[in-house]
Subunit: 340 residues, 2 copies
C-alpha cells in the first residue's frame, strides 16, 4: 500500500502560448478546433502542448462549444447479453467504427437495473453526449422518455413501442423474415412445428412470433409455442425441454435466435433425438453461434454490424442538421445449412 | 423524412426557484448534491424541476465541482472480444453493479483501432471521467501513458508491463493456475501435451504459457506450443488444426481460454479424435463456454465478475482519497469435468 501523491498543478493555455510563441487566442482557436490556425502555429502549439503537458479542460470547452463530440450507445439488456448474444457485440463495433471515422467518441452506457435506468437518464440530461444510439429498448422505457423530452438526436436499433416519434429507427423486417424461414421449414415436410419465442416484451421478439403464426396459418397450434425471457443459450435449452414434455411428437422448431437454437439442439440431443433427421431446427441472426452448432444452423442472416453503422450515420446526420431519416430498413436473407 | 424541430429554450435554475418558492441558492445546493437542503425544500424543488422541465447543465456543474461521477471502463480488444469472450462481459457487469451502487456512471470506451486509441486518450484528458478501469491493456499502450501523465485514479484488470506504477491492479495468478492445471492434465497419464497459447502480448497470455512451461519441466517441447493471436473460438480451431499437422501423436492440450478450447475440441472432432479418450483437453476461465462443449470442459475458474467489482472498488477508494491499494489478487480454482 502507498498513498497517492497530490496532483501537480495543471499547465494552462498561457503556458502553451508562451512556449509556442503565439498568442493565447491562437491557442484557444486551436484547442476549440476552429479554423484559421496556420500550419506553422499548429505545429508550434502541438509541440508546446506535449512539452508543458497541457490538458484542455473539456468541461469548460463544452460550455462554450455546446458539443461534446460524444455519442452514447445505450444497451438495455440483462446479464445474458454480453455473454450470449454476439449480435450486440457486432452492432456495437459497427457503430464504433462509423463514429470513430467521424471523430466522435462512443460511450457505452449499460442499463442492468432500475438504478441504472435512473442514473443513465440523469447522465443524458447532463449534456455529456450529443446524441444516442439505443438498442434493446423496451416498451415505456424511462430512457426513451428522457430522450424525447430533451429532443436529443437519437437512433434506435429496432422499433420499441412508445419510442420518441421524432427519432430515427434502423430495423429489419422481423415479421417477414420469421414468416419466410418458418415456411421454408414447413416445406421440408415437417408437420408439427413448434417455436421457442424469446423476449416478447420487445419488438423483435413479438414480431418473430407474429411471423411464425402467420406462416402456419390454420395449422398453428398455440400449445407448440414456448415463451422464454431472453435470447440466450440456457433459455433455449430449458425451453426446448419443456416443449418436448408437452409435445414429444414435435418434428420442427423455429428458435427465436441462434443462441436459443444452440440450446435447443443440446436439449434435443440430450433427449436422444437427431437433428435434422428427427427434428429440423432453424434459428435467427446468423451470428457466430450458427457455425458452432453440430449440425450447423439454417437461419436468417441479419446485418448486425450494418445496423450499428447505420444507426451511427443517422445520429451523425442529425448532428449535422441534415435531413432527418425516420426509418431505414436493412435486408435479411435465409441461409440454409444442415440443421433443417 | 421530416425536419427536426428547433430545440425549445431550456428552463433555468431561476425558473425552478420561482416555481418551488425557494431561493436560487437552495436550488443550486440541491442540484450540486450538497447537504443542508431541507426535506420540504427538496420535495418542492423536485416537483418544480419536473414541472418546468429543468435540465441541470452538467458541463457547467463539472466546472465547479471538478467531478463528473463517471468512471471510464476501457476495453482494448479486437473484434473477437464481444463475440467470443464471455469473461469481458462478466467483468464489465461486475464493475457496473459496483459503480451503480456508489451512484457512479460507468462509460465503456472501446479501443478497436489506432484512431480509437488517440481519441480515447483525448477523451480522458478532457476530464469527462473521474477515473478509469482498464482491461486488456497491452505493453506500451498509449492509453496507459495518458492515465499516468494525468495521474487519473485507475485500476487495471491484469498487470500490463509498463502500466502506471501509481495505479491499482486486480489480478489472478495466471502462472500458478496454468501450472496447476497442466500438472493435473499430466497426472492423467498424458505423455505428449501441447498448448494453444493465445494473446502473448498480454500479461495473461504470457503468464499462462510460462505456467505451462514450468509444469512440464524437462519434458517441455517447444514444437508443441501453437501461438494464436486472440482468445477466440476460431483461433482455437485453426491453432488446433496446425498443431495436429505438426504433432499427430499429441494426447493432451492446454488451451489458453475456454473459447480456444471449444474451437480445439471442434478441430479434434473433425480430425476423428475422441475427447477425452484420445486427447484430453483443458481450458481456462470457466466461462459460459465451459458447459457448452461436449464433453464439458475441465478448466480453471476465475472470478470474472469479482475482478470487475474489485477494480471498481479500488477506483472508488482512490476517488474518496482512501488508502491506496496497489494490488489485489483474487483466487482461482480448478474445476474438473469430462474433457480430460
Amino acid at each position: 500500500m502507498s498513498t497517492r501523491p497530490a496532483r501537480s498543478k495543471r499547465a494552462t493555455v498561457h503556458d502553451v502560448a508562451l512556449e509556442a510563441g503565439v498568442s493565447r487566442g491562437t491557442v484557444s482557436r486551436y484547442v476549440n478546433g476552429e479554423r484559421y490556425v496556420s500550419a506553422a502555429a499548429r505545429d508550434a502549439i502541438e509541440a508546446a502542448i506535449a512539452k508543458v503537458g497541457y490538458v484542455p479542460n473539456t468541461a469548460a470547452r463544452n460550455l462554450v462549444m455546446q458539443r461534446t463530440q460524444a455519442v452514447g450507445f445505450i444497451v438495455h439488456e440483462p446479464h445474458s447479453l454480453f455473454v450470449d448474444d454476439p449480435n450486440i457485440g457486432s452492432i456495437l463495433l459497427g457503430a464504433n467504427t462509423e463514429l470513430s471515422q467521424a471523430d466522435h467518441q462512443m460511450v457505452v452506457l449499460i442499463v442492468d437495473s432500475d438504478r441504472d435506468t435512473d442514473r443513465v437518464a440523469r447522465y443524458l440530461t447532463g449534456g455529456l453526449v450529443d446524441g444516442v444510439i439505443i438498442v434493446s429498448a423496451r416498451a415505456d422505457d424511462p430512457i426513451t422518455r428522457v430522450v424525447e423530452r430533451l429532443q436529443l438526436p437519437a437512433a434506435y436499433v429496432g422499433h420499441p413501442p412508445g419510442a420518441a416519434s421524432s427519432a430515427a429507427f434502423v430495423v429489419i423486417d422481423n415479421l417477414g423474415a420469421a414468416r419466410s424461414i418458418t415456411e421454408r421449414l414447413a416445406a421440408t415436410g415437417r408437420r408439427r412445428i413448434g417455436m421457442i419465442a424469446a423476449a416478447l416484451d420487445r419488438d423483435s421478439g413479438a414480431d418473430r412470433l407474429a411471423g411464425f403464426t402467420a406462416a402456419l396459418g390454420d395449422s398453428f397450434d398455440e400449445a407448440l409455442v414456448e415463451p422464454v425471457p431472453f435470447y440466450s443459450y440456457s433459455a433455449g435449452r430449458d425451453g426446448m425441454r419443456r416443449l418436448l414434455e408437452r409435445a414429444p411428437d414435435l418434428d420442427g422448431v423455429f428458435a427465436a435466435s441462434d443462441a436459443v437454437a444452440a440450446g435447443a439442439i443440446e436439449a434435443l440431443r440430450a433427449s436422444g433425438r437427431r437433428v435434422p433427421q428427427d427434428v429440423g431446427v432453424v434459428g435467427f441472426d446468423d451470428s457466430a453461434w450458427a457455425r458452432r452448432t453440430t449440425p450447423q444452423l439454417s437461419t436468417v442472416r441479419q446485418p448486425a454490424a450494418g445496423l450499428g453503422a447505420e444507426a451511427a450515420r443517422l445520429v451523425l446526420a442529425q448532428l449535422r442538421e441534415q435531413e432527418m431519416i425516420t426509418e431505414r430498413r436493412l435486408d435479411t436473407e435465409i441461409v440454409w445449412r444442415e440443421s433443417a
